[in-house]
Symmetry: C2
Subunit: 388 residues, 2 copies
């Protein structure tokens, strides 16, 4: 699956990786979603690195956030300019050490990065699903991942790890398949979205759905709602940073030019940064997937799902050892939400480690190089691996 090479750009790396696909739920045996809708066939794109040991006890499942994909580490070929999205954490000798662990990263159901989603072909019409794609939930995403893990012949996962919406999937794994999850590392996440998080997602969705090119979700044969999606991404980037992070990254620095231009061009660096992020995003992401995945995140509520409204009751189903990590400047999923989660876990006598990492980079901190984060994950994995 992967080849160890020294890559001149990033030093140590897992090397060349390839995107793989697992297809299941072929009609008439479609997957039944939480909404009651049926969907099939379902394809899940995934990548692996490291080697599965003979006893199949060293599998680490990494779950990505909103706009991520299965490409967690390494390069697709030797000319690939950029490694996977968590290459700083996943590789030989790294925090998630591919010399020791077999890493699986699966693209989520509803995404546009190889797994079945709204831009996939609807077998009933031979056209892209568009908005006819059924609404999928975090539990639906995890059920699809379970099909992949079964396919890989893994009956117990050493650790399920993910940040943000990936962290919600981690929690869902620990409650839906408790006997399959030896340990779980939810990073920068929450058991349910706050009104603030829902509000940001809703405005982002409205920006997409207000774009005339969205055409009620059926835009695949024509112009795409790129302007709306760019706005949505700009809003996202504000929430991924923090007041402090923006102050340090941009402050009030102007774009290279002598003075204020007295027009509506980007005058400040932060304006230019956001515009650039918006434009870059539309090249790689599907607007409908943005709608579906944010809605899934908004709907998710562990207490409702498993505990008749009580988060503490929900965690009575969990068996995993937990490492919960939050970041001081994350205002999308602030530490108080992780604290509540940890409290609910402890009420059930679970083995929980909790750390709030001092970091100025806001919600994005979990994706950035952080020695503390790396060492916490490394040590936790070492311990749980020694205890199985």
């Amino acid at each position: 699956m992967s080849e160890y090479i020294e890559h001149d750009k990033s030093g140590i790396t897992v090397g060349i990786v390839a995107k793989q696909y697992h297809t299941f739920a072929e009609p008439p045996d479609e997957m039944v979603l939480e909404s009651g809708a049926r969907i099939g066939p379902v394809t899940i794109a995934y990548e692996t690195c490291g080697c599965l040991n003979a006893s199949k006890t060293n599998a680490v499942l990494i779950l990505h956030a909103l706009s991520g994909d299965s490409h967690v580490a390494g390069y697709y070929d030797r000319n690939d300019p950029k490694p996977g999205w968590w290459d700083i954490m996943v590789g030989p000798g790294k925090g998630i050490d591919t010399d020791k662990y077999f890493v699986v990263c699966s693209n989520i159901l509803g995404s546009c990065m190889g797994s079945t989603g709204p831009c996939s072909i609807n077998p009933k019409t031979s056209l892209p699903y568009g908005i006819d794609f059924p609404l999928v939930t975090i539990p639906d995403m995890v059920k699809a991942q379970k099909a992949l893990i079964d396919h890989l012949g893994i009956s117990r996962i050493l650790a399920v790890i993910g940040g943000s919406i990936g962290g919600m999937q981690v929690l869902e794994w620990s409650l839906r398949y408790p006997e399959m999850v030896a340990s779980a590392i939810p990073l920068a996440t929450t058991t349910r979205h706050s009104a603030l998080a829902i509000a940001f997602n809703e405005v982002s969705r409205q920006a997409i759905m207000s774009d005339p090119n969205w055409r009620n979700g059926h835009y695949y044969s024509g112009l795409k709602p790129n302007l709306g999606l760019a706005i949505a991404r700009m809003i996202g980037h504000i929430t991924y940073l923090s007041d402090e992070a923006m102050r340090h990254k941009f402050g009030r620095r102007l774009q290279p030019r002598a003075d204020f231009s007295f027009n509506f061009d980007a005058a400040f660096e932060v304006e230019n940064y956001l515009r650039h992020q918006g434009i870059k995003f539309v090249e790689r992401f599907d607007a409908n997937s943005f709608l579906y995945i944010t809605k899934a995140a908004d709907y998710y509520d562990i207490g409702n799902q498993y505990g008749s409204g009580s988060t503490a009751e929900a965690f009575s189903k969990a068996q995993a050892k937990f490492l919960v990590i939050s970041f001081t400047s994350d205002w999308l999923y602030p530490t108080y939400q992780s604290s509540e989660m940890v409290k609910a876990m402890k009420k059930n006598g679970l083995d929980v480690s909790f750390c709030e990492i001092e970091a100025e980079w806001g919600h994005d901190a979990f994706l950035l190089p952080n020695e503390r984060l790396t060492e916490l994950i490394r040590a936790f994995l070492k311990r749980v691996y020694s205890e199985i």
Copy 2:
């Protein structure tokens, strides 16, 4: 100007008020803006309540925020369903007591509520200015207010009061016309926008300018960029509230219906609230004015304007007594920014009172009923009036 009546809806009120207009800078004596552009004639809409005393020492100038107007208190007629935007603070016996003080509230230059702005007729073309309206700055707005105050025959203002962008104008008044300002009350404001505040404004502007109906700002003869403006307003409303405020106001409560609908309708109350705010706003506000006023706020930087980059140096020009107020949950202009402002004032030996008010309602707190705020303003005005 106003008539004291007991209004059945709100109890004590200043009664019936009327919008008035002052026009100046008739060509060829146009107003010269900071950008160097010339504009004229300039009309400023304003309202007054209370009576100017014989010595003209009891004038209080109130300056509104982004989407406000001159209608600060009272009713336009007896069937008017809603009083002015700060009726809770301005009236007989209220925090700003119209039995004692003569209140002037002026609509800002660049707005769409009666003052000259992008939707006004350009005398050169006999069509609305649209984007040909020159960029105006906070100092330009204050210069236009000065023309109004001169017109009213007031040579010294007892207190200049305003929140948010209105607070920026308060600061500008205290530095541009120090001898005219006996006291100044900047509320929930800042000496310059943070990168975060600029970022929110920029995304809002992009939402407007991405709306195909914006048509480069020349939309007055056709469809208006209502969808873009609604998105901008929704973003604004998120920043006016706070995580805590949203939790209390909405939490994760669903719209009245049995369960999740598994579609993209508004499921949560917070979604419905934001959509409603967006729709309501487009009925009363002009998208171009939103662009111009937010840009003016982003540009403003007291240190650059008056202190060669130093806020402390800038305040060496001030003579007013200051009452600075911030709110604990305001994350658009957090308390640390008011603290820095106060520090800069104190460095210059100015008479400064500073209070951070415990309030859960975010940036919007300055507009909401708050006994602490009312009493602070009442006591401060009493003192400064006794000291002139």
